[in-house]
């Protein structure tokens, strides 16, 4: 705790430099021009207003799932099932919008109800993981992973079965909703919905306030730090675990609802787009603190959007963004361990 901040910062800068270095090496290995490729990513993320707004569009679901994951990480749980929770949110929201389309309810209210349905869908799917963990002893990583695949199957079954397009079912998804039921965006062509941005910011603010400023958050932390001790102090640990799963699932479900109502305007097969797994990376990189989640998620979203240019300009795979993100998180964590080891040795001499 007493170690100086500059040393910590030095290790983090070192991690960034190493991650960039490895990414450049990976680019060289495929014979690609490294700096031109990295330049294309930067230009593809902030080069003009259109791509910059796409970055914000990608930031919204990423920030929401990261916020949710901070709740489960606080109680010491690995919610890998978050991908399925996004998918279930999208399915529930689609179901709500399909039921209200052309009905008695006004489009505005229908959208609000669709968001509520999405949050409920995600929460239910997450609590299922929680119940398997607390009552069945099934590790949340495997329960979550299994349910991710089940969610994907359910999604595809709906798209090809009960909700298929009239005539031919296809991987392009369900019939788009009536335009009146699209979440309003800043302009006709844009997919940037101010309401979605507001929901995401509210989500992370809520988690920040909950964990940092409430008695409930304090108890969550106690469960995460030492479940046995917390239990002996009279905190019903399993209830706190289930509740944190529900919070995380609800936020993931909202992300799913936003993807269908604002971005795709329909349900598509890969609706979660890997944002859940990416959110886990963001949460690890910010060391599970809500304060840094928003800027780091924005950076990761920019990398994802920018790398879309790679196949177009350089005939490279867009997974380079994942390589950069992965090496970054890896080196930050390895650097953290190395720093603690070196500092620990310096102090106690053991």
């Amino acid at each position: 705790m007493s170690e100086s901040r500059p040393i910590k910062a030095l290790f983090q800068v070192g991690a960034v430099v190493l991650a960039l270095g490895i990414t450049v090496l990976v680019l060289l290995a495929t014979g690609a021009p490294p700096f031109a490729a990295l330049g294309s990513i930067a230009k593809g993320a902030v080069g003009n207003l259109n791509v910059a707004s796409d970055v914000v569009v990608a930031w919204v679901p990423l920030l929401l799932v990261t916020a949710g994951l901070l709740a489960t990480f606080t109680v010491g749980l690995w919610n890998i099932g978050i991908e399925g929770q996004i998918t279930l949110g999208a399915i529930f929201a689609t179901w709500a919008l399909r039921s209200f389309e052309g009905g008695a309810v006004s489009p505005g209210l229908a959208l609000v109800l669709a968001f509520a349905a999405g949050a409920a869908g995600g929460a239910v799917w997450a609590m299922l993981v929680g119940a398997l963990k607390t009552f069945g002893g099934v590790n949340e990583i495997f329960g979550g992973l299994g349910l991710n695949y089940v969610a994907t199957a359910l999604n595809i079954w709906l798209i090809f079965g009960p909700w298929k397009r009239p005539g031919v079912a296809s991987m392009s998804g369900t019939v788009p909703f009536d335009k009146a039921y699209w979440l309003p965006t800043v302009s006709e062509q844009s997919r940037l919905a101010p309401a979605a941005v507001a929901v995401a910011i509210a989500g992370i603010a809520l988690i920040f306030a909950l964990v940092q400023g409430t008695y409930f958050g304090l108890r969550l932390k106690a469960v995460g730090k030492n479940p046995k001790a917390a239990y002996l102090l009279g905190i019903p640990t399993w209830q706190y675990m289930i509740v944190s799963f529900a919070i995380c699932g609800a936020l993931a479900g909202l992300a799913g609802a936003i993807q269908v109502s604002a971005v795709y305007h329909r349900l598509i097969p890969s609706i979660s787009s890997g944002y859940g797994y990416l959110g886990l990376m963001v949460a690890m990189l910010v060391n599970y603190s809500a304060a840094l989640a928003a800027p780091v998620a924005l950076f990761f979203a920019a990398l994802n959007v920018g790398s879309i240019q790679l196949p177009i300009i350089h005939k490279l795979d867009s997974s380079l963004s994942g390589v950069l993100q992965g090496t970054l998180v890896l080196f930050v964590i390895l650097g953290d361990g190395l720093r603690k080891r070196l500092m620990g040795k310096g102090r106690s001499g053991s």
């Binding site: 002893g137 990583i141 495997f142 992973l145 695949y149 990376m281 690890m284 997974s319 994942g322 964590i333």
Partner: protein, 332 residues
Amino acid sequence: MSGEILLVGLAGVLASAGPIVFAAVGEAITERAGITNLSMNGLILLSAMGSFAATLATGSIALGILAGAAIGAAVSAIVALSSITLKQSQVAVGFILAMLCRDLSYFLGNPIMGQPGPRLVQAPLPYLKDIPIAGPLLFRQDLMTYMSYLLVILAWLYMNKTRPGLVLRGLGERPAAAYARGADVHRLRYLYTIAGGALAGIAGPMYSLSIKAGWKGTITGLDGMGWIALAITIFGGWSPIKIAFGAWFFALLQWLGIVLQPAMPSVPSQVLQVAPFPLMILTLLFVNMGNAEWVESMLARLPEKPRRALAKFLRAVNVKPPAALGTPFEKD
């Protein structure tokens, strides 16, 4: 379906379970030493891509398989370094590597995507191949599938019948006791993490040089196999023989999903393909339920007869992880 076609199908099931056997037995060895290697999913993809690239470059399948093992060992060395020396969360680093290696394999594999390449040939074993039923089922496979049988037997013998195997189990159960008896816990944990990773790395070339020959990027259909292998490690109670049955059972379910497809045209193939996953959750539930407190208290309230039967069943299927799995060891 005639008997002969059925046998060919089931022989295919054994072959397609081979890589999962390698990965899950490798993981079991690592976890028995007290380390969880969660990177499996990315590790298998990267070794599949890397071994195919190595085979394309050298023209040698043997070198390709070695490259796969080397990649598995290298990735696992990072897991060992971070968890044993740097004392970071095994789950965190494993998950990061699972993601990173997957993206790395897609990116680096882009230039060789869809290229034709050499693949392992079937090598029916003389005499054995003519045994009725067992011949076509077990002994008309490629070399690596035979290796998967051999691995199960050797790993079981090593764990249960040798002295180093006893020490290995001690590392994961009571590292302090193993240390007191003179075992270098950290060094051995490094060794078993890297060795287990090398075995798991062989799963990659078994896909890219045989079962799903070639490299097809995101549509290769390998994404997810590593997670399955991790689940089968638990399902098999960290025992190579039970793991093999788990892998065969899983491969059988996947095969059934494919052959039953025509009978259910209304169900998209992707849906049947995931049938093993809910079953995986159910089996994990069964094998772990005996560890839950409420089950015990519920059992206590049951009348004598069903209580005994149920308790016996739960104990029979119950598995317990190595006691020190995931916890760093401090000598003091």
